[in-house]
C-alpha cells in the first residue's frame, strides 16, 4: 500500500520540509501587560458564590474557564457539534488583542446578567440563563461554563437572516440555526465588540470574484489579523455525502499562509488548536467565501 519510498528525492523533500519547519511563523502573541491586567482582574473578581443570574453555572468552572482562556487562547473550543464557530473565532481574536476587555465583559455578564459593548447593551433572557452550564456531550465545552454563557449571549443579541426562523432559545438550539452566523453578522459583531475598523471581502454565497485569494491573504496577513469564512466540508474533504452544498459553514482565524512545492500551506486556528494543512491552489479558492481583516497585530 505505502511501500514505495525511493531514497534521494525524499531525502531532498525532507530537507526542504525541515527547513520550512525551522522557519515557520509563530502564532500571534498576546500583549504580556494586557494579559497580566486581565488575570489580575479575574483574581479580584473571583469568588465561590453562585451568580443569582445564572443558576446552573458552577463558579469554580466559570473562573477556571475564564483564566484558561486568557492564559491560553489557543485552547478556546466551541465544542462539537455546535454552531458556535463564528463566536469562538471572534472571541479568540478578542483574547489575543484585548483580553482585559474580554474579562470585563464576562465578569459584568456573570455578576449582573448584562454588559455594555461599544454600540449596545448585551442582555440575557431567562431561557439562556437557565441553559448556561447545562450543555452536555459537546466535549470540553461541557465544563467550560464561561464559554457556554458567552456564546449563548452573543447568539441571542446578534441576529442575522439565518436566525430569522428561530429567535428564542430552546434546549438543543446551540446545534441549530438559532446559533448560526452569516458573514455580515460576523463582521457586525466584530465591530460592535471591539470597536475596531473591520474590513471584509466576500459574501455568504459567492467569494470575491476578481481576487487572487492567496496573494490577498498573504499580503494582508503581514499587518492585519485575517479571519476566513469557509466551507468546512471542503476543508475536511470526504465523499460520503451525495450533495455537498457549496456554501460556507465555518469561521477560522488565519495565522499564516505560504506557498511551497506548488501547494498553499495553511496555518489557522479553530476548535482549540492550531491546524496546519496543505491545499491545492484551486481548492483554496473553492473553499474560501469571505475574508475579514482587521488592523490589529
Amino acid at each position: 500500500m505505502f511501500s514505495y519510498f525511493p531514497g534521494n528525492v525524499y531525502i531532498r523533500i525532507l530537507f526542504i520540509l525541515l527547513l520550512t519547519l525551522a522557519a515557520e511563523a509563530q502564532p500571534p502573541a498576546q500583549n504580556p501587560e494586557a494579559k497580566q491586567r486581565a488575570l489580575q482582574r479575574i483574581d479580584r473578581a473571583q469568588s465561590s458564590r453562585k451568580s443569582e443570574y445564572w443558576p446552573n453555572m458552577n463558579p469554580v468552572l466559570f473562573y477556571r474557564n475564564l483564566r484558561n482562556n486568557v492564559d491560553s487562547p489557543l485552547y478556546l473550543n466551541q465544542g462539537k457539534p455546535t454552531y458556535f464557530c463564528g463566536y469562538a473565532a471572534l472571541t479568540h481574536f478578542m483574547l489575543l488583542y484585548d483580553p482585559e476587555d474580554y474579562v470585563a465583559r464576562m465578569i459584568d455578564l456573570y455578576t449582573t446578567g448584562t454588559t455594555q459593548v461599544t454600540d449596545k447593551t448585551l442582555n440575557s433572557s431567562e431561557r439562556i440563563r437557565k441553559a448556561a452550564g447545562t450543555l452536555y456531550n459537546k466535549g470540553v465545552m461541557d465544563i467550560n461554563h464561561a464559554d457556554q454563557m458567552w456564546f449563548m449571549v452573543l447568539s441571542e443579541n446578534y441576529k442575522g437572516y439565518l436566525n430569522l426562523r428561530d429567535k428564542a432559545f430552546d434546549p438543543g438550539d446551540e446545534n441549530t440555526f438559532w446559533a448560526a452566523t452569516n458573514f455580515r453578522k460576523f463582521n457586525r459583531m466584530l465591530r460592535s465588540l471591539t470597536g475596531l475598523e473591520v474590513h471584509a471581502r466576500g459574501a455568504d454565497l459567492v467569494g470575491p470574484v476578481f481576487l487572487n485569494y492567496y496573494r490577498f491573504c498573504h499580503t494582508k496577513n503581514e499587518e492585519h489579523t485575517v479571519l476566513l469564512y469557509l466551507n468546512n466540508k471542503a476543508l475536511y474533504p470526504n465523499k460520503f455525502f451525495r450533495f455537498i452544498l457549496p456554501t460556507p459553514t465555518h469561521f477560522v482565524v488565519l495565522y499564516d499562509i505560504d506557498r511551497a512545492d506548488g501547494y498553499n500551506m495553511l496555518d489557522y486556528w479553530d476548535y482549540g488548536l492550531r491546524t496546519k494543512m496543505k491545499l491545492r491552489k484551486r481548492k483554496f479558492r473553492k473553499l474560501v467565501y469571505g475574508i475579514t481583516y482587521i488592523k490589529a497585530k
Binding site: F2, L14, K80, V140, T275, K278
Partner: protein
Amino acid sequence: MKKVIVLFLLSGILLSSCFSAKIRKSEDYYFENRPALETLLKDYEALYRKQPFAIGFSDKRFSYYTIIMYTDSVRYLYNTHMNRKLVFDEMRQSSLTVEDLTGIARQIKDLKCLWIGKNELYIDNRKTMATNLSFKSQLFNRPFEENKYYILSFLETRMSKAATTRRLRKYGYHEVGRNVYFTISNRFR
C-alpha cells in the same frame, strides 16, 4: 424501446437504493467482529502512545486516507487524495513508521471502518477518553436521507457503572459490553 429499458433500469436502481433489506448495525455487530475490533484497538493504542493521531477514509471506496496528527498545540491534516507520496513522506517526520501506518490502514480497510480516533467525553465534569470507530450505517446510501454513522465507543476509564450508563444513555449511547458503547450519529468524526 432503448429509452424505455434505460428508464426502467434507472428507476429500479433508484428504488433499490431507497429500500434495502440489510440488517441495521447494533450491538450484534460488535460481538460478531469482536476479535478483529479488539486487535485493531490494541494496535491503535500502541501507535497512539508513540504519536497521537486519527486515521480514516475520505471516500466510499476506501481508497483515500485522511490522517490527523496531534501535538499538544498543533493538528496536522493530511489527505492522500492530494499527493500520496508527499503525505506519507511527511508522516516519516513523526514517530510512526510506514509499516505502522500500513498495518493500521489495512486493518481499518478490512473492517470497512470509516474512521478511528479519540474523543473526550465529560461525565459528571470528569474527563474520560474514548476511542471511537465509525462505520457506515444502514441508511448510508439512501439518496434523500442524511447519512448516518454507526459509532462504537470504547471508554478508557472505568467509572461507576450505573452512573456512567445512565448518563451515557442521555448522550445517545447504548451499552454493548464492559466500557463499550454504540451510538448512531450524523457525524463520523
